[in-house]
């Protein structure tokens, strides 16, 4: 008996070691990936390709942020453009009206977006499934209309970022894309690290429990509403930071270029394509989706508008039919849950 229980304890200790070794391997993989990406723009000097690199890294960060609420907590938002827009407008307005550094604007935009997420979450998290998703779409569209008719924020004309000195403090670099690549890389790395940290934290387990079975989660002391609110606030914060970054990158924003529904889709799709609720899913999805979008846009030109949307649709259909857990399934061997057994308590 005692030898047997020692054996059991040793088995669990071994499983524990394997778990922590796997977590360390994830970190090592990140280091390698970041190093490779850091060297890449030094070799690829083409401005067009560098532009795609910035966007790919940016959407990696944004989709990673969306994944916190959509993937881990299972609340599918298709209105995250509202937080993107809040981030872009907050930093841009603070910069143009008050001369505040965009770095501070980023933090302020993130904070405001997190607050807005809580205010919206209060009624929205009483809605379930598709109704929640519809509500997020509607409110983001309302924000678009609101900004179109708000003269202080430039209305439909938008705001041109005034050319200040090219330096890190102003997050402006003229035609030089390199600093933007590294900033976007830093954003993607930070959101990855936050997700990595969350994966083995109380919130992380609570969110996944809420996604899998809310009733069981409640019986184990999980307050579902609070869990969703926390996920929404964190998710919104980082999407807004990405919005501020985007505003600095393109140096001109109007409602349609930061609040369009298109953005909400582009935050969700990489995660869905790569692997929803996984650590590497958003990055994997973005690396495929964003260059594809940019290439089709430039090759098809103005007459090819919407071709990228057709491609998204086709990709999503393929992934849903063929690899529902996302492309990450090709790299990580994940045992698939069996269909729920029919004989659970059915006969009594």
């Amino acid at each position: 008996m005692s030898t047997q229980s020692i054996g059991i304890a040793a088995g669990l200790a071994q499983a524990n070691d394997r778990f922590h070794a796997a977590r360390r391997r994830q970190l090592m993989t990140l280091v390698v990936v970041v190093l490779v990406i850091s060297v890449l723009p030094l070799l690829v000097k083409d401005v067009y390709l560098q532009n795609i690199m910035v966007l790919t890294l940016m959407y990696t960060a944004l989709s990673q942020s969306w994944n916190i609420l959509g993937g881990y907590c299972g609340q599918i938002s298709l209105g995250h453009a509202i937080y993107f827009g809040i981030g872009a407008y907050t930093s841009t307005l603070l910069f143009t009206k008050f001369g505040v550094s965009p770095w501070f604007g980023m933090a302020a935009g993130g904070g405001i977006a997190a607050l807005v997420a809580l205010v919206l979450g209060y009624p929205f998290f009483r809605l379930k499934g598709h109704y929640f998703t519809i509500a997020t779409i509607v409110v983001a569209e309302a924000a678009l209309v609101l900004f179109l008719s708000w003269p202080y924020a430039g209305g439909a004309l938008g705001i041109q970022l005034p050319a200040a000195a090219d330096n890190w403090a102003n997050l402006q670099f003229g035609r030089n894309k390199l600093p933007f690549i590294y900033t976007a890389l830093a954003l993607a790395t930070i959101t990855w690290l936050v997700t990595w940290k969350i994966e083995d934290s109380r919130w992380g387990y609570w969110w996944r429990a809420v996604k899998d079975n809310p009733e069981a989660a409640e019986s184990l002391g999980v307050v579902i509403f609070n869990s969703k609110m926390a996920a929404a606030a964190l998710s919104a914060f980082f999407v807004a930071v990405g919005g501020s970054f985007y505003a600095q990158f393109v140096a001109y924003i109007d409602p349609d270029s930061v609040l369009n529904f298109h953005f909400s889709l582009l935050f969700a799709l990489p995660a869905v394509l790569g692997g929803i609720g996984t650590l590497w899913g958003p990055a994997l999805g973005a690396i495929i989706l964003i260059p594809l979008t940019e290439f089709t846009r430039s090759y098809a030109g103005g007459s090819g508008q919407g071709i990228d949307l057709i491609i998204y649709g086709a990709l999503i259909m393929l992934i849903a039919l063929w690899k529902p857990e996302g492309l990450i399934g090709f790299f990580v061997r994940q045992p698939k849950p069996l269909p729920a057994s029919a004989d659970e308590g059915a006969h009594s």
Binding site: K211, N213, L220, V222, P335, E344, G345
Partner: protein
């Protein structure tokens, strides 16, 4: 009934529209007891069970845990107060591993993931599910899933454990293991209230049984007393025992 009751159900009535599922039910569960809640289908066992677990409130009456009125607390708050439950139809977190399922329970007592993992491993060993710690919950067999529910509930360190038909669908061998497990849980000082259909299992296991019939307490006492009660025989065991 020497020990003070850990749980008191006081005059609980629950109506669903025109249907009265529980009518003026009062039960005391002394500390350390295994109490069986039995009765024919539609007797109101599940309703009462869910009211105690906090899944929904009673229409009238009060629930008292350790002298404190907890009628107004929702399910998560009751878990924090020391009540854990299992579900009649198992509700696993299917995409999470077995140990992660149990960790969700541990987190009601600790914010540290390392501590939650340690506690979960300990509980998995206790319910003899440690060999499956890294399997996905969705891959478990139905009896293993029942054990997992038990482990998850125990990880919340309950004072009172509510078991909803945990023996349903188990083979006799598995059921015997289940009975042994429930006894071991009680030995750790946890009070147990179990709803059960399978009389052959309940009667030898419980210290006391409460028989519900048509939403009311029909009889209450030791298994021997309850089985001998004329009213119980008529209402519940009648057909089988007279045939």
């Amino acid at each position: 009934m020497t020990a003070a009751p850990i749980l008191s159900v006081k005059n609980v009535t629950r109506r669903f529209g025109g249907l009265t599922a529980n009518s003026d039910v009062s039960i005391d569960v002394p500390q350390g007891e295994i109490l069986g809640l039995i009765g024919p289908n539609g007797a109101g066992k599940s309703t009462l069970f869910n009211i105690i677990a906090g899944a929904f409130p009673p229409s009238e009456g009060r629930i008292v845990l350790n002298g404190a009125d907890i009628t107004g607390l929702d399910a998560p708050a009751r878990c924090a107060a020391g009540i854990a439950r299992t579900f009649q139809v198992v509700k696993s977190f299917e995409s999470m591993s077995v140990i992660e399922n149990v960790m969700v329970g541990s987190f009601v007592r600790t914010a540290s993931a390392a501590e939650a993992r340690r506690k979960a491993a300990e509980v998995l060993e206790f319910v003899e599910l440690d060999g499956r710690a890294n399997a996905l919950a969705g891959e478990l067999t139905p009896p293993e899933k029942r054990r997992l529910e038990m482990a998850r509930a125990l990880a919340t360190e309950p004072k009172l454990l509510l078991l909803d038909e945990v023996m349903t669908g188990l083979t006799p061998t598995e059921a015997r293991k289940g009975v042994a497990l429930i006894r071991r849980v009680r030995e750790t000082g946890v009070t147990i209230l179990m709803v059960e259909h399978v009389m052959e299992i309940v009667m030898p296991l419980v210290d006391r049984a409460v028989v519900l019939h048509l939403g009311k307490v029909l009889s209450e006492g030791t298994p021997r007393q309850v089985v001998a009660d004329e009213a119980v025989i008529n209402a519940y065991l009648g057909d089988r025992h007279r045939a």
